[in-house]
């Protein structure tokens, strides 16, 4: 009998006994280890306090959340909360908690722990950058008994479950929170998840080790406990050399591979998985408050002048889908957008009085056809912006492209109003994402468009008490209005290109698309 068979038998024995005899699990798992590459080095990784998306990649496996989202359908399923109810007025949510859950430090998970976590987030001295905003109009958390907890809201807030399913509201050990405090807890994180947090050395590595006692995993996990012993996260911040690191076996899994590298890697037998990121595509909103985009014909001409597949091909190669609507990855019916038609675009402009001058620029009544594009500096927006500029210049417009290096500057440019097209998009798993952007009073109504019918459709779609079929229909109608009015130029549906070495199997991601479900990760030969 060789050694690997021995190990197999021991493993089988332990799998049977795992639930009762946790000590047995320690020697069993083969000493497998995986290196996972992160693409930026976050400055803080306390999920309750910091806002980085990168921190969720490792920490989603350290914490459990009250509810989880099905990775495929987005349905909310039980996790730390075995069931929940919402009051009819939408102002309180009651969660019934599991009683068999223990934190990695041995402390029991209960209703007091939930309250301690939420209080930590709400404490203004802790300066939470994200979690506190995800709680919306939450007023307080009430402990009824050790397994029952009630969230009281000041106003109805449909995204609450969505928030509670994310790592930013994962449940941390109240003892650890109190011991380390807001500045040091990030280095000593304690959750209830399938992996324990070992250490975080900023800019160098972060290590997780399998939690052998894990026995309360939600149904979205295929395995009861993790299949690899350790996961080490390293930072690969330089995009140009990311692919090289995968090729050379320096790292097993690495996301956000530049598109042109993805093509080459695929040619070398390294798997590159495009993971769909649900939400809005890369898109530019058109300003209906400023000439010339205040006229529908001009907006239509700008859309028709774009060869969107060519733009996507030029910037993203073959790996990215051309956007077909206002949202992707949410199971909404895709809508059709008109194809590139230069002649029609030119005709629309000419018919509305914009006549081509001898200088190659169109004029109307002594005015020049001027367009200003504001593109955020991240996520390939500048490249797309440059191609928009080229396309519209060819149409006879004088185009200026401004790059906004931060969200603050993007918003500043928007407030000044001196733009015709502005790049902005949000990721998210709920189609209610459309409301802030296209409703008249929406926070991100950067098109300036007002339409009572559209408002009504978006409001009804966003309310909680409605069947999925009705919702589909409402959002379908809303989408049609937005597209008919050409309020937005959808360019490319987001995908995260994740490269993984051939020995990695069962690499799956959460519904949001960013966070891997490490518990199910398997290593082949």
């Amino acid at each position: 009998m060789n050694r690997s068979t021995m190990r197999l038998l021991r493993g089988a024995a332990c799998a049977v006994a795992a639930a009762v005899v946790s000590a047995c699990a320690a020697p069993t798992p083969p000493p497998t280890s995986v290196v996972y590459g992160l693409t930026l080095s976050p400055t803080g990784i306390d999920p309750h306090l910091n806002a980085s998306a990168e921190l969720g990649i490792p920490l989603t496996s350290v914490y459990d959340t009250l509810v989880v989202q099905d990775p495929l359908t987005g349905d909310f399923l039980p996790s730390l909360a075995s069931s929940w109810t919402m009051s009819d007025d939408g102002l309180s949510y009651t969660f019934h908690l599991r009683s068999d859950v223990r934190f990695h430090d041995g402390e029991p998970f209960d209703a007091e722990a939930v309250r301690a976590n939420i209080d930590y987030i709400l404490d203004p001295d802790n300066h939470s950058q994200k979690a506190v905003f995800m709680l919306g109009p939450l007023e307080r958390v009430e402990v009824i008994d050790p397994t029952t907890v009630v969230f009281h809201l000041k106003a109805p807030y449909p995204p609450l479950l969505d928030s509670l399913a994310q790592v930013y509201l994962g449940m941390a050990s109240p003892k650890a929170l109190a011991t380390w405090g807001p500045s040091d807890y990030q280095f000593h994180q304690v959750g209830t998840g399938p992996f324990r947090f070992v250490e975080f050395v900023p800019n160098d590595h972060l290590t997780l080790v399998r939690n052998p006692d894990y026995a309360w995993g939600p149904s979205i996990y295929q395995h009861a406990t993790a299949q690899v012993e350790t996961v080490t996260f390293r930072f690969y911040t330089e995009p140009a050399t990311r692919a090289l690191a995968v090729e050379n076996g320096d790292v097993d899994i690495l996301g956000e591979i530049p598109p042109h590298d993805a093509q080459r890697l695929a040619g070398e037998g390294i798997g590159v998985t495009p993971v769909t990121i649900p939400g809005q595509p890369l898109q530019f909103l058109l300003n209906t408050k400023r000439p010339p985009t205040d006229e529908l014909d001009a907006r239509r001409a700008l859309l028709l002048a774009l060869d969107r597949p060519a733009i996507v091909q030029a910037v993203f190669g073959d790996t990215s889908p051309v956007a077909q609507g206002l949202l992707s990855g949410l199971g909404l019916a895709s809508s059709s957008l008109p194809e590139h038609d230069q002649a029609e675009a030119e005709r629309l402009l000419t018919d509305s009085g914009w006549l081509m001058g001898t200088d190659g620029v169109r004029h109307r009544d002594g005015q020049t056809l001027e367009l200003t594009i504001v593109a955020p500096s991240w996520g390939n927006n500048p490249e797309v912006g440059q191609l928009l500029e080229a396309a519209w210049e060819a149409l006879g417009a004088q185009v200026e492209l401004q790059i906004a290096p931060s969200f603050g500057q993007l918003k500043e440019a928007q407030e000044k109003g001196d733009y015709n097209a502005i790049g902005i998009n949000f990721f998210g798993t709920d189609p209610d994402l459309l409301r802030p952007m296209f409703a008249s009073d929406g926070v991100y109504n950067w098109t300036g468009y007002r339409d009572l019918l559209l408002d009504d459709l978006l409001r009804r779609g966003g309310s909680s008490a409605i069947s999925p079929g009705e919702r589909q229909a409402l959002y379908g109608q809303a989408t049609q209005i937005v597209l008919n009015q050409v309020l937005v130029l959808p360019i490319r549906d987001y995908v995260n290109l994740v490269a993984s070495s051939p020995r990695i199997h069962e690499l799956r991601f959460s519904y949001t698309g960013w966070f891997p479900l490490l518990i199910d990760l398997e290593i082949g030969s």
Binding site: A243, H260, R264, A314, Q386, A390, L401, I403, P405, Q409
Partner: protein, 268 residues
């Protein structure tokens, strides 16, 4: 000596070629810098001698017009440095003790922040764009130039005939313009050349850091920044503008050195 003369000749030739190419850019290419002319990263073919860039635009055109932007922006910045710094130095020398101390205090305190950081600070205050960079680099170089210009003027001032002119009743301004300025010229000229090299480095560095604004309109530093993503599969996107920047700086250094060396007198 001959070797040195040779390198100065090469430097001069490069500077002339670059300036001429930038000035005559529209004559040297038939493509613009905005419109794609082919697939991204296409290789060279007729009409596109260097192939296309990461978005399919003619790389040759972009290098030509990019040089125009880099040379122009840095020349403006250097002019600002020389005028401001020179003026401060001159005022310090002719203005009397208090003016001199005040100028020195401002100059020395500004020098406690390294020039590039000072420029970055100004970009932070004014917002990132190419005109801002010109202003920031110009102001960032001024304190250093002022200090060296002041020294040059001081050396000129000690000449007895200037004291004589002052004694004869020539006004301060007149002394400054008629005597100090021409006297210091042999020192100021190479200094100005050195500061041009500095401005050029500063401008292209700030644009490389992504502070130039619109990337559609090429500039060598911005082009390097945009090409970084393709560093391993299309290194020429980075190294063509990079080499042009390095060549220009080396050449201006060499020319400044040649200007600074005293011309051999016949008796030597």
């Amino acid at each position: 000596m001959t070797k040195r003369r040779f390198s100065v000749a090469v430097a001069l030739a490069w500077v002339l070629v670059v300036v001429a190419a930038a000035a005559a850019a529209p004559l040297l290419t038939s493509h613009g810098v905005v419109q794609p002319v082919g697939h991204p990263l296409a290789s060279a073919s007729s009409g596109i001698p260097l192939g296309t860039d990461e978005l399919g635009r003619d790389l040759w055109s972009r290098l030509l017009y990019g040089g125009r932007a880099s040379l122009g922006a840095s020349a403006l910045a250097a002019a600002l440095t020389v005028v401001l710094g020179g003026l401060a130095g001159l005022v310090a020398v002719v203005g009397g003790r208090w003016v001199d101390s005040t100028v020195l205090l401002v100059v020395n305190s500004a020098l406690a922040i390294p020039g590039l950081l000072l420029a970055l600070l100004l970009v932070a205050g004014l917002g990132p764009s190419l005109p801002t960079i010109v202003l920031a680099v110009g102001l960032g170089g001024a304190p250093g130039f002022a200090r060296l210009a002041r020294q040059a003027f001081l050396q000129g001032q000690t000449a007895t005939y200037i004291a004589a002119a002052a004694a004869l009743g020539a006004g301060r301004v007149r002394v400054a313009l008629a005597h100090l300025l021409p006297n210091a010229r042999p020192q100021l000229l190479p200094l100005a050349a050195t500061y041009y090299a500095w401005s050029f480095l500063g401008t292209t560095t700030l644009t490389f850091l992504g502070l130039a604004g619109d990337p559609t309109h090429p500039e060598w530093g911005s082009m390097m920044n945009a090409g970084r993503l393709h560093l391993l599969d299309a290194p020429h996107l980075v190294f063509l503008p990079g080499a042009a920047i390095a060549m220009t700086i080396l050449s201006v250094h060499a020319l400044a050195g040649a200007l600074a060396r005293p011309r051999p007198r016949p008796s030597d």
